[in-house]
């Protein structure tokens, strides 16, 4: 049983992925077939050992795709594709210039047909190749989509024009339509691919958490080796400021580790002997010797990367509106063309006239503005959103955002500010006497809460302790000439038999507590830290609730830690103590109900898996880069009310796309009767075709611009 993971080329839409998956499932001898459209990957397991990869390749090739070895990194492949696409776009734009000039200004110039034919041919062959190729692959499988429509109409328009030109009929040339349609559509594809490219960057961002090198103890000495050479059971040394390069447990040493990529919690966690540490976590202070317990491929981070990659591609494809329209339109137009041919032949007895009219139907039917309908609305909609501090990545995001039923919220950093701030200080003894000593002790600490205390008393002259001691997991003890001070959690105090019970009953705000006491005088002070709610959280969640949305809270925090946020925002649903995979499981579980459209709002790497699995993901701009790259919507400011505005703009943009599609098809549909020859004395001329094309393009652009003025 050999598991294979390969790249696939030739998949142009989510439907291709389904077709390829079906094709491979039918193949005997292989199992567990998974095709991922976004990452362009296929994986399966060989059950029949006699089966070769070549045999599979033959089957795949027959379906119109091709398998490639996985040795080129995904990022590089995407970059190559992006480069190819931008070349195709610039090529098309360059050659459409003479095409437009010949068509609009110098149409009666004797060289006009020749120059138009050449420019149009160059655009079709170089930039439009993929439309023809995809249409051909689809046709062999008995399917049609937008590519079919484009290939047939541009191909026929070009061939028909060549034929007419050859006959000396310079008045029935459609070179310009053919070239311009391809140019507009190339522009649309270019935009679409940019969004797809960004999701792949998310995985690259996660990979950056993996160190390339590790300091391994070899025969008692620490040696820097490439990460691939680190083996199970090796001892690895990590110094303050470095990322932990392996999964394992602490053999020796002590330090504070920032595991926020996994848990989302901003406070570093203390690690000492026997504690587990994970790849990618950041050692903020101290130094650790770690015994490696998982290979590079099996680390928690590596598995997270795999799952993000899978989640991105395994999303149920929501077909783009354009493809849905095309699915009806293409067969209809082909039906009309056929009927025209048969009609002329049967009724009028003129098969040659019928052929000409049938071709004319196909030529006029291709809505040139089709390529403009989505991109222009998106550009205006995204621009409007960006002016309002919202980044929207793709068209689907707009469609889905306006249909969302359930919002899943991450707590720390999304609903809350994400950093604990000093909320309250209570003095149980004379404050002025103790502040200089407290500052003296805290200055030697690297704990983040210590910084919060220091910031509160910026102008105090500190008194340094004679002796200082750090008690891991509890706090610090400082000896002064007149007293011994304890600063830390309540277990530090109780280990010196100082009870905090009578004082903690008075504590109002719930949060992280730092106690100060002295061996001589008992409890002196209590500092309470809290991670505050974002100011707009209440209003934003209430508004969404009124609009009929359901809220869920998923947090890595404990039930006690999340209780305050839950009660403040009336959040009942959801789960506490979630690992990244728990969040994802919750999302997938919700999505099982087909009526629900699930949005995940998060800020951290630990949310990225759930975000990738959700129907739509929204990132907070102050959060991790990876979250922003997975997300289809990013709120640049940490203002949750922007999400409501985003929903509104999404609805408006979606509306505009629909109107645009209507305008794009309208003029062409009106012209079809002319092409069929139903109106005696009128027939299709390039002037009519040109006018239809111009009218629909202008209508679409104007309609898109109107979006700017909607409030």
């Amino acid at each position: 049983m050999e598991k294979v993971r390969l790249s696939v080329s030739g998949m142009s839409c989510a439907a291709c992925a389904q077709v390829l998956e079906k094709t491979l499932l039918k193949q005997s001898g292989i199992q567990d077939v998974q095709v991922n459209f976004a990452s362009e990957q296929v994986q399966f397991t060989f059950v029949d050992p006699t089966l070769t990869l070549d045999a599979i390749q033959t089957v795949v090739k027959k379906a119109g795709y091709s398998l490639e070895a996985n040795d080129v990194p995904a990022q590089e492949r995407w970059e190559l594709k992006a480069q190819k696409q931008s070349f195709q776009l610039y090529w098309a734009l360059f050659w459409s210039f003479p095409l437009v000039m010949m068509g609009m200004i110098w149409m009666h110039h004797p060289w006009s047909p020749a120059i138009s034919a050449l420019s149009s041919a160059l655009i079709l062959v170089v930039s439009g190749r993929s439309f023809f190729w995809n249409a051909w692959s689809n046709a062999r499988m008995g399917r049609t989509n937008m590519d079919t429509l484009v290939a047939i109409s541009t191909g026929i328009a070009f061939a028909y024009s060549l034929f007419q030109w050859g006959r000396g009929n310079d008045h029935a040339l459609y070179f310009e339509s053919a070239g311009m349609i391809v140019t507009f559509l190339t522009l649309g594809k270019f935009w679409e691919n940019r969004a797809k490219n960004a999701t792949s960057k998310a995985v690259v961002g996660l990979m950056e958490l993996i160190s390339n090198e590790a300091r391994v103890i070899r025969n008692g000495e620490s040696v820097l080796v490439p990460i691939q050479q680190v083996q199970l059971g090796d001892w690895v040394e990590v110094w303050a400021g470095e990322r932990i390069p392996v999964d394992g447990w602490v053999k020796k040493g002590h330090g504070w580790v920032d595991e926020s990529w996994l848990t989302g919690e901003p406070l570093p966690v203390e690690k000492s002997k026997k504690d587990t540490v994970l790849t990618g976590a950041h050692l903020q202070s101290g130094s650790l010797r770690i015994q490696v317990t998982a290979s590079k491929e099996d680390s928690v981070l590596a598995r997270l990367i795999d799952r993000v990659r899978d989640a991105q591609g395994s999303k149920a494809p929501i077909q783009a509106l354009v493809d849905r329209v095309s699915a009806v339109f293409v067969p209809a137009v082909m039906g009309i063309a056929l009927a025209t041919f048969l009609g002329w032949w049967a009724i009028m007895g003129q098969p040659d006239m019928g052929f000409e009219h049938a071709l004319a139907v196909l030529v006029i039917a291709c809505p040139c503005a089709l390529g403009l309908a989505t991109p222009t609305a998106l550009m205006v909609g995204m621009g409007k959103a960006a002016r309002n501090h919202i980044l929207i990545k793709d068209a689907l995001a707009l469609e889905v955002l306006s249909e969302t039923t359930d919002f899943i919220w991450d707590k720390t950093g999304t609903l809350t500010e994400g950093k604990p701030t000093l909320q309250e200080i209570r003095w149980f003894n004379d404050s002025h006497r103790w502040i200089p000593s407290i500052i003296g002790i805290q200055m030697t600490s690297s704990h983040p809460l210590a910084k919060g205390i220091l910031k509160t008393f910026p102008d105090v002259e500190p008194v340094s302790p004679i002796e200082i001691q750090q008690i891991p997991g509890m706090g610090m003890i400082g000896k002064f000439s007149d007293a011994t001070l304890l600063i830390g959690n309540s277990s530090l105090l109780s280990s010196y038999s100082i009870s905090t019970d009578q004082h903690s009953s008075e504590v109002k705000p719930i949060g992280t507590e730092v106690w100060v006491a002295s061996l001589e005088f008992g409890v002196i002070a209590l500092f309470v830290f809290q991670d505050n709610l974002v100011p707009t959280a209440t209003e934003a969640l209430d508004t969404l609730r009124q609009q009929g949305h359901t809220h869920h809270l998923l947090t890595g925090d404990t039930p006690e830690g999340s209780a305050r946020v839950r009660s403040a925002l009336a959040l009942i649903l959801g789960r506490d103590k979630c690992l990244p995979e728990d969040k994802k499981a919750y999302v997938l579980d919700l999505k099982k109900d087909p009526k629900r459209i699930v949005a995940m709002v998060g800020d951290g790497i630990n949310d990225s898996e759930a975000m990738a699995a959700a129907d739509i993901s929204i990132a907070i701009g102050t959060g991790a880069d990876i979250a922003k790259e997975v997300a289809s919507v990013t709120l640049i400011r940490h203002n949750l009310l922007d999400l409501i505005l985003a929903g509104k703009i999404a609805k408006q943009t979606r509306g505009t796309i629909r109107e645009n599609l209507f305008w794009a098809f309208l003029y062409n549909i009106i012209s079809i009767p002319l092409a069929v020859g139903l109106i005696p004395g009128w027939s299709l001329t390039p002037m009519v075709a040109g006018a239809a094309m111009a009218m629909s393009s202008v209508s679409v652009v104007l309609n898109s611009l109107r979006l700017n003025f909607k409030s």
Binding site: R218, N219, G220, E221, Q231, L232, G233, D234, W235, K251, K252, Q291
Partner: protein
């Protein structure tokens, strides 16, 4: 923390590679190194709660011999 030195037949770099996983996996061991330039191929181990015999036994499972040389 105690230290113990064994003489051994851990002769070269590749022998060290072989004993590394075994010695690393013994929880009581804090540090260890082999001096292959010494004629007796001295293995020095710093340990906390492990009996020197256990170290000898563990090395024996992969065919290496170690004999107590000195202990403090």
């Amino acid at each position: 923390m105690a230290q113990v030195i064994f003489k051994s037949n851990i002769n070269c770099g590749s022998c060290i590679q072989k004993v590394t996983p075994i010695l690393n996996a013994l929880e009581g061991i804090d540090e260890w190194r082999v001096d292959t330039t010494h004629p007796e191929k001295l293995l020095t181990v710093e340990f906390e709660d492990i009996q020197p015999e256990e170290i000898v036994k563990a090395l024996d499972t992969i065919g290496f011999q170690a004999e107590l040389y000195s202990q403090d």
